[in-house]
């Protein structure tokens, strides 16, 4: 496998992603083969929408999406490609430069091919053994923990706002982050553990939002109660408070009349049904002064059952009181039916956008924001690491000076070593700090540049892209952070306290955990693509019959030439 091909592929991906990267980034507009349009600034969406032919490109695309979905971080896929591209470029440069300056041609092809996996293995070793220590010692002290009590406070909002900054148009960031904060606050009481309430929100998100196209974004709002996205099959009758509700999964009973009579005896005035009811059932319900909503989706029913605590009826003959829930109000709204379940006080999100594409984009962004928060506040898997963020800061005040990561062994080999909720100012702070912290021997024994040097250079390419519109700002940011590191007496002058918003805070906040996992994923991906030496093209039975049509025709011609 030629490294130049690899670099070419990754650079092509990078070129697409760059357009939507950073604070000055814009959107990417797709038209799918179905003619459906999609707008996105999400790296995963952009990459998965591309039809990549080369097997290597797919091998970058696939781990990325798998990583995204299994982690559910909802963040970082653009940085993933950027880091990967610059890391691979760095490795390629290092191998082509060669150990001795006298050899102008650098490595021979064979040596080159051997050098790349060597780097890859060393990188993986570095990332899996030392990286978390390095971050804990050199980066975490400059961050702080956002508590979950304060989603109304500055830092919680900032975290969300900076996430939306990477995902939607700038002018709507603040509006959407306010809306999401509000939503999170409304659902917070559900449980004391924030992680669980995020989990609940993320699981039930399909039932909790309503997309409405044709209105400006500023019409998006929260609505009290649960919205069922179906219209009444019977005319909506005014429902007095404390009226009852039954909901059905199926009506199997033939004698509808007796069912309706039984329902009436419970004082039921609203029926929710998962399936479509017959005309006769609708007419009978109308005559009995019951409102009926048909074809309620599975997700909405599940949420309703959770919220109200009723048991769905599956057979018409056994209606009990446990199937009946009390609602405080029910009314038709804009596009659906709105319920107020009296036991709890839920709220639903109505998201508006001028076109469907935009509405979808906002929905994705909010859903991913909840995912991201979930990752940040994921409980630690080991109970050993009990040091809170506050003590970390005081302990490592000196440790950050001498830069001896070996002193912090307890942090090694754990899945999640950082305090839940640990964040750091955005705008390259993490990358600056970590690249500085990486051990920096000029070259190792073979005369090759060290892997930590390669990683540090790759990391710096991220802030370089953030400030790509003005290189001056890049230097300014770097100097500012470096001067803070050199002056550890006041490590908090980033403006982490709300009273003194520093120069960096307007760039927002990002999660340390997400960043750490991102780097791990990048290194793993780079290692796996560098270890590949040949691509074998197999033919399925279908292809042997018609050899003219191969799916990867372009890729195969390239490789045949190589052979």
């Amino acid at each position: 496998m030629q490294q130049s091909t690899l670099i070419k592929i990754v650079s092509a991906l990078e070129a697409v992603v760059l357009r939507s990267f950073g604070p000055e980034g814009g959107q990417v507009l797709f038209t799918r083969d179905t003619g459906q349009a999609m707008l996105s600034r999400s790296g995963t969406c952009i990459l998965s929408a591309l039809h990549l032919e080369h097997p290597l490109a797919r091998s970058v695309q696939i781990p990325l999406s798998v990583w995204k979905h299994s982690r559910g971080t909802g963040d970082g896929s653009k940085t993933f490609i950027l880091l990967l591209a610059s890391l691979l470029r760095g490795i390629s440069k290092a191998t082509s430069r060669g150990p001795s300056a006298s050899n102008a041609n650098g490595f021979t092809e064979a040596a080159k091919a051997a050098a790349a996996p060597y780097f890859a293995n060393k990188l993986l070793k570095l990332a899996s053994s030392d990286l978390d220590d390095l971050i804990a010692v050199n980066v975490v002290p400059y961050g702080f923990c956002v508590s979950l009590e304060d989603f109304t406070t500055h830092s919680g909002r900032l975290l969300l706002a900076s996430f939306f900054h990477t995902r939607v148009s700038h002018v709507h960031c603040s509006y959407l982050s306010e809306l999401t904060c509000e939503l999170l606050n409304r659902w917070k009481y559900k449980s004391d553990l924030p992680y669980i309430s995020f989990q609940f929100l993320s699981d039930n998100f399909p039932a909790l939002h309503t997309p409405v196209s044709g209105f400006p974004v500023s019409s998006s709002r929260l609505i009290e109660g649960q919205v069922i996205h179906r219209d009444f099959a019977t005319p909506c009758l005014p429902i007095t408070p404390e009226s009852s509700i039954v909901h059905f999964s199926a009506w199997t009973e033939r004698s509808l009349e007796s069912v309706i009579a039984e329902l009436q005896s419970f004082g039921v005035s609203l029926l929710l049904s998962a399936v479509k009811q017959s005309d006769a059932a609708v007419a009978l319900a109308t005559q009995a002064h019951m409102s009926l909503v048909e074809c309620v989706s599975e997700e909405e029913l599940t949420l309703f059952v959770q919220l109200s605590g009723v048991t769905p009826v599956s057979r018409g003959c056994t209606i009990q009181l446990e199937h009946v829930a009390a609602l405080s109000l029910c009314r038709p709204i804009l596009l659906g039916t709105d319920f107020f379940v009296s036991k709890v006080n839920p709220c639903s999100l109505v998201i508006c956008g001028p076109g469907e594409e935009q509405t979808d984009q906002y929905i994705c962004a909010i859903r991913d924001a909840v995912c991201m928060l979930m990752t940040i506040w994921e409980p630690k898997h080991t109970s050993e690491t009990t040091a809170s963020c506050g003590t970390l800061q005081s302990e490592k005040g000196t440790a950050s000076l001498d830069m001896t990561p070996t002193a912090n062994k307890p942090y090694g080999l754990k899945k999640c070593v950082f305090e839940p909720g640990c964040v750091i100012p955005a705008g390259g702070t993490f990358e600056f700090l970590l690249s500085r912290a990486l051990p920096n021997p000029s070259s190792d024994t073979n005369g090759l540049p060290s892997v930590s040097q390669l990683l540090a250079n790759a990391l710096l390419s991220v802030p370089r892209q953030i400030y790509s519109h003005s290189p001056k700002l890049f230097l300014q940011a770097q100097t500012r952070i470096m001067s803070l590191v050199q002056n550890p007496s006041n490590p908090f002058s980033f403006g982490l306290k709300e009273s003194t918003p520093g120069p960096m805070v307007d760039l927002g906040l990002e999660s340390v955990t997400c960043k750490y996992q991102l780097i791990l994923a990048v290194v793993q991906c780079a290692t796996s693509v560098l270890r590949v030496d040949t691509v074998l093209h197999t033919r399925t039975a279908l292809h042997t019959q018609s050899k003219k049509h191969t799916i990867f025709s372009r890729a195969s011609t390239e490789d045949e030439a190589e052979d």
């Binding site: 959107q27 990417v28 032919e53 044709g214 007419a283």
Partner: protein, 564 residues
């Protein structure tokens, strides 16, 4: 999978707004929409590639769905405007022209995209907050105690559809009808939440427009003869079936019936139907209406007992009929029909319109259902008239939400433009600091926004004339091509909306530079009434949608098109 096709690579466009081809397409679309705008807009023939029917229209709701572009950016703008139309019916062309002008002007003035987005957003919030203010000089309160403004609003919408080819008298007739129908569908005295009634439209081809009429109650086209047997003035007891009475077992689905071979199921069902008929006769039902088909035997039975039978009513008329007569649709054949399911119709009569004979069902008492019969000379014009009618209906209903209207004839646009320019100049330095740009850049952005608003006002003129604005109230005036060179103070007459008379002395052409000024509100001398009004709700939303869509298009940096 019988065939594996090679997937074509996606077509990518980097920075689409810097691409000359894309810009040319955007320009073309702008020119197309512009040429349709306003009461003197040009018409478009829409015809598909296999020689289908030709539609003549200037309405965005007809033209936009017919446009197809291979450029995703255009489709994005199109779908935003169409979504707006689906919610508000009105101001689709306004949204389209304004959005495309914003894009074009931003490019012409070489404004950075990210800056243009911020300034557009800022200007939009200036406009919306101004329009909501009490002292907004381009907003007119709608007073429901007089029909004056409602008539003007309806008239403006009917005249904005030149493809209807209506004379002044016909326009007046149609807009009067629309206002009457609107008022008819508001229930007079019902406590609690109000449910608005419905207007059913029936179209008749070949009759003059002035024969169009509005009737309380429902007009239902008749499939067979109707013999009015008795003419007693008593209301008729009515039953409404939503299920088929033809004796079929449609609801069985995929199930099977096991029956004794000797049993004749058809006869059994017919017996059941006749049983039902007997109950109807016993309950003194005089009108039996069915959404679907009624078995001929049952029909015959009912007719022989003096019941008027109507079948195949169709889904669309079920709800209005239920509203009119107060019946509850019956869907069961086996159960006894409860007395509450019956309703009443006051009177039945036949009406003749051209070749159509219709049965007129009059409500017993107050019912918010009425029927509009729209007539026009040929089908194309009739279609357009129907579009105009529906739009008028929707716009009039929107006034219930927000009882305001905006001055029409381009005056709102010029007024807003002057206001934004003035406000922008005043607050240039502090706003620029807030948006993190220089005051000069900010003012350039404001200029782009104002120019685009002016462009919409200028689009109203299609006959080679030019557009002007007075420097006092900032209303819009049209200068005809032959009068342009002469002294403008002489013969400009009234402004676009008809509120300001030729009193101001200072003018400026809309595409020229002028010093900013604060548009003065019209003081107490407003004995004049505006002659052209636009829907407030629709226009405010269109303004927002246009700016948001333009911002979105400015934010698109990369286009990927799947060619499969």
């Amino acid at each position: 999978m019988s065939r594996v096709e090679k997937k074509a690579p996606s077509v990518c466009t980097d920075l689409p707004l810097n691409n000359a081809e894309v810009c040319a397409k955007l320009h073309l679309m702008k020119e197309l929409l512009k040429s349709c705008y306003g009461p003197r807009g040009r018409l478009k023939h829409v015809r598909n590639n296999i020689g289908g029917r030709v539609t003549t229209s200037s309405a965005s709701s007809v033209i936009l769905p017919a446009l197809y572009s291979s450029q995703p950016l255009l489709n994005l703008i199109k779908s935003s405007v169409l979504n707006h139309i689906s919610r508000f019916s009105d101001c689709g062309l306004f949204a389209g022209v304004f959005c495309l002008s914003l894009l074009e002007q931003a490019r012409r003035h070489e404004l950075r995209e990210s800056l243009a987005i911020k300034v557009n957003k800022h200007c939009l919030s200036l406009c919306t907050s101004y329009l909501q203010r009490d002292d907004c000089a381009c907003r007119v309160k709608i007073d429901f105690s007089s029909s004056q403004n409602l008539m003007t609003l309806a008239g403006s919408i009917v005249s904005s559809k030149p493809a209807c080819l209506l004379t002044e008298a016909e326009k007046l007739h149609i807009s009067t009808m629309a206002v009457r129908a609107f008022l008819q569908t508001i229930p007079c005295s019902s406590p609690g939440p109000v449910t608005l009634g419905q207007t059913v439209t029936v179209t008749v081809r070949g009759l003059p427009v002035l024969d169009s009429a509005m009737f309380p109650g429902l007009l239902v086209e008749m499939h067979d003869d109707f013999n009015q047997t008795d003419s007693s003035s008593e209301p008729l007891r009515t039953v409404l079936f939503s299920t088929s009475l033809a004796g079929d077992l449609a609801e069985l689905g995929d199930g099977t019936i096991e029956a004794d071979p000797d049993l004749d199921t058809d006869l059994q069902i017919l017996d059941q139907l006749l049983e039902l008929g007997k109950q109807l006769v016993e309950d003194e039902v005089r009108l039996c209406v069915c959404q679907k088909v009624i078995h001929p035997v049952l029909q015959q039975y009912l007719r022989s007992h003096g019941v008027v039978v109507m079948e195949r009513l169709g889904m669309a008329l079920m709800e209005p009929l239920g509203m009119l007569s107060g019946t509850q649709p019956v869907a069961t054949l086996h159960a006894r029909i409860p007395s509450t399911a019956y309703g009443r119709v006051k009177n039945l009569s036949t009406k003749q319109f051209g070749n159509k004979t219709m049965l007129h069902l009059q409500p017993d008492g107050e019912a918010a259902v009425c029927t509009a019969v729209l007539c026009h000379r040929n089908e194309t014009m009739l279609d357009e008239l129907k579009v105009a009618w529906r739009k008028t209906e929707d716009v009039l209903r929107l006034t219930l939400k927000e009882p305001s209207a905006l001055l029409g004839g381009g005056c709102t646009e010029t007024h807003l433009s002057a206001y934004v320019k003035h406000k922008g100049q005043q607050e240039a330095s502090e706003t620029a600091a807030g948006l993190r740009c220089s005051p000069a850049e900010f003012l350039l952005g404001v200029k782009v926004f104002c120019r685009s608003l002016d462009m919409v006002a200028r689009s109203l003129e299609h006959d080679g004339g030019s557009s002007a604005m007075d420097l006092n109230h900032a209303h819009h005036w049209t200068v005809s091509a032959d009068a342009a060179g002469e002294d403008m103070a002489g013969g400009l007459g009234l402004c676009g909306c008809g509120l300001v008379e030729n009193s101001s002395t200072e003018w400026t052409f809309l595409n020229t530079e002028y010093a900013e000024f604060c548009p003065a509100p019209l003081l107490g001398d407003s004995c004049r009434k505006p002659t052209v009004l636009d829907s407030f709700t629709a226009k405010v939303n269109a303004l927002q949608v246009a700016v948001e869509t333009a911002n979105l298009a400015l934010d698109v940096r990369y286009v990927i098109k799947d060619e499969n």
